[in-house]
């Protein structure tokens, strides 16, 4: 792949990642958000693939395939199952409304750019220049978690955050060592499974997944 094509495709993929992240914050339809998650998984796999081509690292091809399998197929599937079991299809009353969320998102993305300056400065390259996107995804995911009521939304936020970290890892260092990558992926998968089970139990006990019902344990 030529340098120009590499940079082009890299920017395309990274732009796609940021776009999906912002859209997640905007939309309320949970199924649509899960579809965004699928798209993000595919884009992430694409990012790994592009880097694999660029670096000529055969291991990275495998990682790309793994990412596609896990983030593009497996995790969204789990979430879909959660949604299928329940009645809540939309995030009806988020704690922060869409307009404010988007405003916050703008600030957070700017903040990510500001914060990641030392990261870019260490080794400026097309890939590292895109690092702020990864960091933005982390911020947006975190913000999603504190501003959405539904349990599923919170899981989505967590996955967005995780995708952001994965993107950062790919952009900064073309991924972490394989053994770590394996461990991390396994953990992530299991966590989401655990959260699925918990959501199901929550529905059983509370008759819904509104996290504001979880206020029994407190000191005040």
């Amino acid at each position: 792949m030529s340098e120009a094509a590499y940079v082009q495709s890299l920017n395309l993929v990274v732009g796609g990642l940021l776009l999906t992240a912002v859209l997640m914050l905007w939309w309320r339809e949970l199924r649509a958000i899960v579809r965004l998650l699928v798209a993000q998984g595919v884009l992430l796999a694409g990012l790994a693939g592009i880097l694999a081509i660029q670096e000529g690292d055969s291991q990275l091809y495998g990682v790309a395939a793994g990412v596609l399998l896990l983030k593009g197929i497996a995790l969204p599937a789990v979430l879909r199952r959660v949604l299928r079991d329940g009645r809540e299809a939309t995030e009806s009353e988020p704690l922060v409304n869409a307009a404010s969320s988007l405003l916050a998102a703008a600030f957070l993305i700017l903040f990510a750019y500001a914060v990641s300056r030392p990261l870019v400065a260490l080794a400026p390259s097309p890939a590292t220049r895109a690092l702020p996107v990864g960091l933005s995804m982390v911020f947006l995911g975190f913000f999603l978690m504190i501003s959405r009521r539904r349990a599923v939304s919170q899981v989505v936020g967590f996955l967005l955050m995780d995708n952001g970290i994965a993107a950062t890892a790919f952009l900064a260092a073309a991924g972490v060592p394989l053994i770590v990558e394996l461990g991390v992926s396994l953990d992530l998968f299991l966590i989401v499974l655990v959260l699925q089970v918990l959501t199901a139990r929550m529905r059983l006990k509370f008759g819904g997944t509104d996290l504001d019902d979880l206020r029994q344990l407190r000191d005040s």
Binding site: V115, P118, L119, A121, L122, A123, V138, F142, M145, A151, Q154, F158, M161, D162, I165, T168, A169, A172, A173, V176, P177, I179, V180, G183, V184, L186, D187, L190, I191, V194, L195, L198, R201, M202, K205, F206, L211, L214, Q216, L217, D219
Partner: protein, 502 residues
């Protein structure tokens, strides 16, 4: 630090991993029964033993390893001792705990099987965390504990335990994700420093620390402190801790408080060695101090009018971790030795207390402090254990926490951080007053039953030998390591030489 390949080393390092795994597998396959429970105890003893053996081999300063993944030095040995000691108390108490839960109908066959599977698995994950040379694997092992303990916290399947589990998993996952981001950035810095082949091996990073880019490392260290701080129960991501500790089965609370928090601090201890090389040590110190003092202040504030004794113990864990991180901030060899002793003492003490509080809950059927009154008159052994445990936890001699706290303060003064001691001690005094007030109320107080009533008849449940032995043993050990220096002190000093900077 030379790594000596030796067949005996492999056994010593692999056995503590395999032992709990085998116990977990057996538990998962065969379900709950007494022999399986004793298997878990045996696995803990194995961890303890391997800690001793590793200690013997590394007390001189070397390290032993298996391949490139597992590696153990004196610091590891201390952590193995912590895991083993707390594990023994918790699994031993767990034997009767599960039986009682089954008898009372709080759990079923499936729950007990899950318990038998997950507790040893938790131990295995923790052992892996301290044995791993790779910081990524360390991270993965710590994260794995979230998964393992999730169902343990939710053991009773009540609304409250479900709530606690959700908060626990969510907050910890987010926190640990930040630590992962930090790890990635460390890897990035390492890759740029060596010009290609990056590494996450601690041995490598500790050597090349000063070549790592400080700009990247600053962000990485901040993320790591917040991330592992979450697991260690530090402000600002501490909130999961009181909920999870109060809802989990008592032995699991003991394990989480004694082992999980300690291992998270262990991760910070390892990273700190790299960080002070790469960065201005004052930056690391101030960051840690802010987090530590904030945790201490928060714990002290919430202990004042605490109403639930399990949450009281949980906030006390936050307080102690804050104290340990103060030691981390000081970072001299004396401070590191002191904080390791403190971790060990706190682990044992808290394990005893959580197991005791489980018994109190079984007797009194409430976790409200206000509803437990006159315990000493009705349950002398139980209340005595509780009182002595609280005394140990409040840093009273002859228990080791007294000496470790004192050594921490001395280290701080010796490192020119004398001003830190005043706020820390002020907060500790507040904690003391608050905890003492609640405890006195529980132990003495007005008896709910008439004085002439035969207490034995009114409360048929008394502590059996099986239940009291590990608790008393734990307290005896706690007192012993608080008075006798040998053989622990050389090991602590060897560990401090690894992780401490003067």
């Amino acid at each position: 630090m030379s790594t000596q390949p030796h067949i005996a080393n492999q056994v010593v390092l692999v056995a503590p991993l395999l032992g709990p795994l085998v116990a977990a597998a057996a538990g998962g396959l065969l379900g709950w029964r007494r022999s399986i429970a004793w298997g878990a105890v045996a696995a803990s003893v194995l961890i303890l033993l391997s800690g001793v053996l590793v200690g013997v081999r590394t007390v001189g300063g070397g390290a032993i390893g298996v391949g490139t993944v597992l590696r153990a030095d004196a610091l590891t040995a201390v952590m193995l001792l912590v895991i083993g000691a707390v594990g023994v108390i918790a699994t031993w108490s767990g034997v009767s705990y599960v039986e009682r839960e089954l008898a009372a109908g709080h759990t079923d066959e499936r729950g007990a099987r899950l318990y038998a599977l997950l507790v040893p698995a938790f131990l295995a994950a923790m052992v892996l965390a301290v044995l791993a040379d790779n910081l990524g694997v360390l991270w993965a092992a710590v994260e794995a504990t979230t998964i393992v303990t999730a169902f343990l916290v939710g053991h009773r399947r009540t609304r409250a335990s479900l709530e606690a589990t959700w908060k626990y998993v969510m907050i910890c996952s987010v926190g640990i994700a930040m630590a992962y981001l930090g790890t990635v950035l460390v890897y990035y810095a390492s890759k740029q420093a060596t010009g290609g082949a990056g590494s996450l091996s601690w041995t490598v990073l500790a050597v090349q620390g000063d070549q790592l880019d400080s700009g990247v490392m600053r962000i990485a260290v901040a993320l790591l402190v917040l991330g592992f701080g979450t697991k260690a129960g530090l402000v600002p991501m501490h909130s999961w801790l009181p909920d999870a500790h109060s809802q989990a089965p008592a032995p699991v609370s003991a394990l989480m408080s004694g082992v999980l928090l300690s291992v998270a601090v262990y991760a910070l201890l390892r990273y700190r060695v790299i960080a002070v090389e790469a960065l201005d040590p004052r930056f690391v110190r101030n960051l840690l101090l802010v987090v530590a003092l904030a945790s201490l202040a928060l714990a002290a504030s919430l202990l004042i009018s605490q109403r639930d004794y399990k949450r009281l113990l949980a906030y006390s864990s936050i307080e102690h971790m804050g104290l340990v991180v103060v030691g981390l901030a000081v970072g001299t060899p004396l401070a590191v030795a002191a904080l390791l002793l403190h971790i060990l003492g706190h682990g044992i003490g808290k394990a005893v207390l959580f197991c005791t509080s489980g018994q109190i809950l079984a007797v009194e059927n409430t976790t409200e402090i206000a509803h437990v009154r006159g315990l000493l008159a009705r349950q002398p052994v139980l209340a005595g254990t509780f009182a002595v445990g609280i005394a140990a936890l409040l840093g009273l001699p002859p228990f080791s926490l007294f000496l470790s706290e004192l050594a921490l303060m001395r280290a701080a003064a010796g490192a020119g951080m004398g001003w830190v001691i005043a706020p820390v001690l002020l907060l500790l005094v507040i904690v003391f007053l608050a905890v003492a007030r609640h405890t006195v109320g529980m132990l003495f107080g007005d008896q709910p039953v008439p004085a002439n009533d035969n207490s034995g008849a009114a409360h048929p449940m008394r502590l059996s030998r099986l239940e009291s032995t590990p608790l008393v043993l734990g307290l005896v050990v706690l007192a012993a390591i608080g008075v006798v220096a040998w053989p622990l002190q050389p090991l602590l000093q060897a560990a401090a030489a690894i992780a401490g900077t003067s």
